[in-house]
Amino acid sequence: MAVKILQPGLLSLLQDGGRYGQHRIGLTNGGPLDPGASQLCNRLLGNAADATVIEVSFGGLQLEVLDDTFICVTGARMPMQINGKDVARYEVHPVTGGDRVTLDFAESGCRAYLGVADGFEVAASFGSTATVVREHIGGLDGEKLSDGDILACPDVKQRRLFFINPESQPRYHDTVTVRVIPGYQQQHFSRLQQRRFFSHAYTVTDRCDRMGYRLEGPAIDCEIEGILSEGICQGAIQIPADGQPIVLLNDRQTIGGYPKIGAALSLDTAAMAQLTPGGRVHFTPITPHAAHNALHLAASMARRQTLLERPA
């Protein structure tokens, strides 16, 4: 059971939930930039939440199904076709050997997730299949997908055909508000600098990738230039000497010596990672309490989202 990549598009990567517990040997997390979207894809397919899917950035993926399976796409609005016929995203489709599935370039958003029943079968490295190209770890030989790659899938004969209505699907905007838990070297940013950071919009530059999103806007001054290198958590917002913030994401380095003003909430870095260059970001401070509540609320809403079902 397998699918074959005919065209990988700009950047398609195998991702599961990410690689955890390996920072002490210098490995980063990897994993989906928009975990809500990848988990929803797996939930629609009846898979484990962290089953391996393809994260398609920008679009342009074409694949051929080699054996019968079920397929589903969530995330960025990339027009989807099976054998040249438009089909709905956020819906489980049965596919048979010889079918061609294409995802066009994104009309809105940037990252889509394509999953199959029970997930792609990939050997885990360091406990995860997540591809981190910078480390040459995960996926198929640590590389992004390329044409001709064969991805094994489990043999699945039956699946319920779940879908969700377009009005319940996430929408992607050009501006995202990112909640920030102030922390790390926050005390080394004057009150004026913090106010500047939280009251102006920043623009996504073309230096935005899975390591981090480099933004452009009013420069933020830090009283100190560097620090002894220390651990960097997901979402940490680094302010280098030029004062332009970098929001660090899944493939970030695990330690670094630039001052950080705090860290972004993961729910909002997921939305930010759906932005392309030119997108706008506003930062707003929240307390650790509020962050905690937001995460619980989001988890509970995701669990309770109603799935609709078509007769098989």
């Binding site: 517990g21 002894l228 958590c233």
Partner: protein, 223 residues
């Protein structure tokens, strides 16, 4: 201790690079691991800090902060276990250490003296990061400390032994890098197929032993 993010706290154990502070970090690392158990997701020990990453859906920052504070307070002075001493062979030569002559010239030393100072030191593994298996070792003799290159190299070979400020390291894989290259080590610093994956861990002591070209090649070193 500071908040770091929605699922992370950072504990500061000191302010400078020193074996004492590093030993505190290690002791705290052990204590926090015990105190948080399965609520813990990952730890990043570094020069003077410990980043603690937890599962925010299983516990909360108040509970974690409380347990970490207690664990760290009780760990002070317990003295982390003595790190092992690991000896790494190095072929020091301009052939594989392009910056050796410049570094020597700037230091007003001969290349032999630079090699003697570098291989005569004992270095502590202060942190691992930047790339898989990249161990930050410190500190080199002040006389051979050297600033990073103005223009980083696009490609530093695997095994390159290098100096930046008072830190030294062996590049675990081909990568870009701005450190001063002085030699090359035939031992793999990161090998997913090997057990252990890395020859060193944070807290270990590393000594470098100068070897000749022939020996370097016979140990699998590449030119």
């Amino acid at each position: 201790m500071h908040s770091a993010g929605e699922n992370a706290l950072i504990a500061y154990l000191g302010e400078e690079t020193s074996p004492l502070v590093s030993a505190h970090v290690q002791a705290a690392e052990l204590a926090v691991e015990g105190a948080l158990g399965s609520d813990l997701v990952d730890l990043v020990p570094s020069y003077a800090s410990l980043l603690i990453i937890y599962d925010p859906l299983r516990t909360d920052h108040l509970s974690v902060a409380h347990r970490v504070r207690e664990a760290v307070a009780n760990s002070v002075g317990t003295g982390a276990s003595e790190g092992r001493t690991v000896v790494l062979p190095v072929y020091y030569h301009p052939e594989v250490g392009e910056d050796l002559p410049t570094l020597a010239e700037r230091a007003g030393l001969s290349t032999d003296e630079v090699v003697a100072l570098h291989s005569g030191g004992e270095y502590r593994v202060y942190a691992i990061g930047f790339a898989p298996g990249f161990a930050y070792l410190g500190q080199v003799d002040e006389r051979i400390a050297a600033p990073r290159l103005a223009t980083p190299r696009q490609k530093v070979p695997r095994g390159a032994v290098a100096i930046a400020d008072r830190q030294t390291a062996v590049y675990p894989a081909v990568s870009p890098g701005g450190w001063n290259l002085i030699g090359r080590c035939p031992v793999r610093m990161f090998d997913p197929q090997a057990e252990p994956i890395m020859p060193v861990q944070v807290g270990d002591i590393v000594r470098f032993e100068a070897i000749g070209r022939q020996e370097y090649l016979s140990m699998g070193g590449e030119l």
